[in-house]
Structure formats: C-alpha cells, structure tokens
Symmetry: none
Subunit: 86 residues, 2 copies
DNA sequence: ATGCATTTGTCCGTATGTATG
DNA sequence: TCATACATACGGACAAATGCA
C-alpha cells in the first residue's frame, strides 16, 4: 500500500498473521461452497483444533469474517454463513 | 551508536554492544548447559530484568542467538534452546 | 423444572511482534 | 539504547445462552 503523500506504508492487514490466514482459508471455503449459506461453521473449539491454533485466535478470525459480512454469530448457537443476499 | 559530531563511539564490529554482550552471555550459558536443549529461556521481560537492560535490547540479543542457530522462538510461547542436532 | 452438553462471551496471565518517540 | 504502547498469540478458566432429554 502506498500513501498519496509518497511515503511508503506498512500494510497492517498483511496475510502473514495467523488469524488472517485462518480467516482467508474459511472465506475461501465459503466461496468454494464447502460451507453453504445458512450452514453453521464448526465451533470455535473445533476450528481451533482443525487449524492447530488457540481458540482466541480462531475467534479473531471469525470476527474478521464477520466484519467482511460473510458470517453471522449467534450467542450460544454458533456462527452461520450468510448468503450473497444478506 | 555513532556520534554525529565526534565520530563513532563504539566499534560497530566489536562485541562491546550491550545486546551482543547479552547474546554472548546467554550463548555461553547454553554451551555450559545451564540452559538445556529443549528448555525455554526466561521470557524477554525476565531477561531484561536480569541483565538490567530494556526488553528491546534483549530482543536484539535473542535475535542474534536465533541467527546463530542456537534458539528457536515461538510466537506467544517463548524462546527455546536448540540441540546440536537441530 | 432440572439437569446436561454444546457453543459463544469474557477475562486472566504470560509471551512475542511491531511501532513510535 | 531506552521507554512506552498496542497488537498478536497461546492456554486456561469461568460465565452466559441455547437446546435437548
């Protein structure tokens, strides 16, 4: 990323962060249809196991997906994939 | 550090840099077996306290040890002593 | 209604990574 | 080199919400 003022800038959203890698991977899975709209994602604990990461890191990834508008999280139930319409 | 007016105060190649002194000391401790292979080093904060230096300086020393292949650092966990085999 | 399991929410402590002054 | 602040990451513990038997 380059600033308009000419100064080189560090991209803090680089994909070399664990939570970002996980978020990208899940996002790709959603795009690929491996997680259909309306379907529930595996639990945070299951995802943590799957990715070999801490649950807090998975939560950070899910938060990223939420901010991208890809999923919706319901307390006590889970995180659900949103369709293109919503 | 290089003086902007009176020339360099320290020999940039010499071992009289604080981080290098610390690195050498830890390396000697590893060689002497005071830190066994597989063992975790004290945290950067603890080492900083021990050596009376800033954490950033200790980090520089640990980086030196990493570049010498003496230790391996794991994000969020610590820095571990490597055996002769690895 | 009473537990019980599952899942997300929150917090704590510790440790490393990055950035700035 | 130091000092500070914040982000990222791990691991654990407990609380709150949900659903089911």
């Amino acid at each position: 990323m380059t600033g308009q003022d000419g100064g080189p800038r560090y991209d803090p959203r680089g994909a070399d962060l664990v939570y970002m890698l996980i978020a990208d991977d899940i996002a790709a899975a959603i795009t690929a249809g491996r997680y259909a709209a309306g379907q529930r994602l595996p639990s945070e604990a299951a995802l943590a196991e799957e990715y070999g990461a801490a649950r807090m890191t998975v939560r950070r990834a899910v938060r990223e997906l939420r901010e991208r508008g890809l999923v919706r999280t319901v307390y006590g139930k889970g995180t659900y994939v949103l369709g293109p319409g919503q």
